[in-house]
Assembly symmetry: C2
Homo-oligomer: 251 residues x 2
């Protein structure tokens, strides 16, 4: 992605934990939301991995990614049942102990009567040593942050609450700005002039996304120009828009 992707940008990876996504039973709704929100605030999502509910796979993914990116987010696997192994896996990844955290237990008691706080539910208060908690406005059982790893729930509404709770405390870069130009043309008819524009604006990222317009059955193309620099976005975007007009014109 060249110079548009300069050093100093704040980056992130996401690890989605769950057999149910890999089996196709559950359609993930978190990746798109997290990608949009991080882009909005100036954190560049650079990689996503979906891994099964297997400790060694979770540990391997988290340890590989936390070395490479500013932040690693995880979703899923922090509930009360036997297949919820994320907190223990993160403790293993960091080589720290894990136990019921009194702060987390107190949060659970805001939502669950003490008589209902059985052993299974107490699992949701198990937090790796040294982690800070991420509040959950929906159902109280918290997520947590250890080092640069932020552990969130898998239920979308709860995950979203945790993401908003943690975003204010994270470092952010300048947001990547974008402009989309719709071309009523097949990619292959505009690829050459588009490539020339991409070469002329190395500080912009220019993507070409074909799709089939279901209203008329035709293949069309969304051209997306991205830059952190408003002036570059304007200049490269105008060049793409002029090219698309010229391609559509008579001749």
């Amino acid at each position: 992605m060249g110079e548009a992707d300069g050093a100093g940008s704040i980056t992130a990876a996401l690890v989605v934990i769950g057999d149910e996504v890999l089996s196709g039973r559950t359609k993930d709704k978190n990746i798109g939301h997290i990608a949009e929100r991080l882009t909005d605030v100036g954190i560049d999502l650079r990689e996503v991995r979906i891994v099964p509910d297997v400790e060694e796979d979770i540990v391997a993914a988290v340890n590989a990614l936390r070395q490479r990116f500013t932040y690693v987010f995880t979703t899923g696997g922090i509930g009360p049942t036997h297949d919820d192994i994320t907190a223990d896996s993160i403790a293993a990844a960091f080589g720290v102990s894990i136990d019921v955290d009194p702060r987390a237990r107190a949060m659970l008691l805001e939502y669950i009567a003490e008589k209902d706080l059985n052993e299974a539910r107490l699992r949701m208060a198990r937090i790796p040593a040294g982690a800070s908690l991420v509040v959950n406005e929906v159902s109280k059982a918290p997520g947590f942050r250890i080092g640069n790893v932020i552990v969130m729930a898998g239920v979308p509404r709860i995950m979203q609450s945790m993401l908003e709770a943690v975003l204010p405390e994270l470092d952010k870069g300048r947001p990547m700005l974008s402009r989309t130009i719709l071309a009523d043309a097949r990619e292959g008819d505009i690829a050459a002039p588009l490539g020339e524009i991409a070469r002329a604006f190395p500080e912009a990222v220019i993507g070409s996304y074909p799709f089939r317009d279901e209203t008329d059955g035709r293949f069309k193309t969304n051209l997306v120009v991205r830059s952190r620099e408003p002036a570059v976005l304007d200049a490269a975007g105008d060049a793409v828009a002029r090219m698309v007009e010229a391609a559509a014109g008579p001749g």
Copy 2:
């Protein structure tokens, strides 16, 4: 996942290639479809990675995954524009040359008039040396298979056509069977007996998936029992169903 996941199973990983998914602009629709179809035919999807349009990232993901799994599928980045770098990246991953393939060129000419077969469109006929082609019934520009790596388009309709074209020639295992039991209960109220059932049936995979029922605003739980063995599925599924009934009963 223990014994349910025995040796001899046929496994796969998926690499989704595209800045547009990582930026949140495009919501991926391929992961869920591929996960479902592979599960249907008896191929276990074990990991998904979403990576940007950057050659070294694509090469690293494909080379890591093709060592570990029976098959690696990729989606995206095989069109005619400057940002379509998947074919070149796969050639680099395998250390082979890449050039316009006469078979692929002939396929393009079924759909595109020779006068419109410009240099950009000819990029879609660039195929790594030694690869076989995967036909595309929608718009002809083919995918390809090299070693255990299957390269498909990103446009869902085209990807689906390619997936159906390639599935018949792949090895398959016994399909993982599944049964879902809805519990009108919060996870924490059934976690203990569910854990006992999971321990009693080590050959089954039992997952617990909480969700908020938007019709009544209550948190409920889907319990999913999975096994390749119909008798195990029945026995473990019946045990879960009885437990759910008992939990709901007067008491």
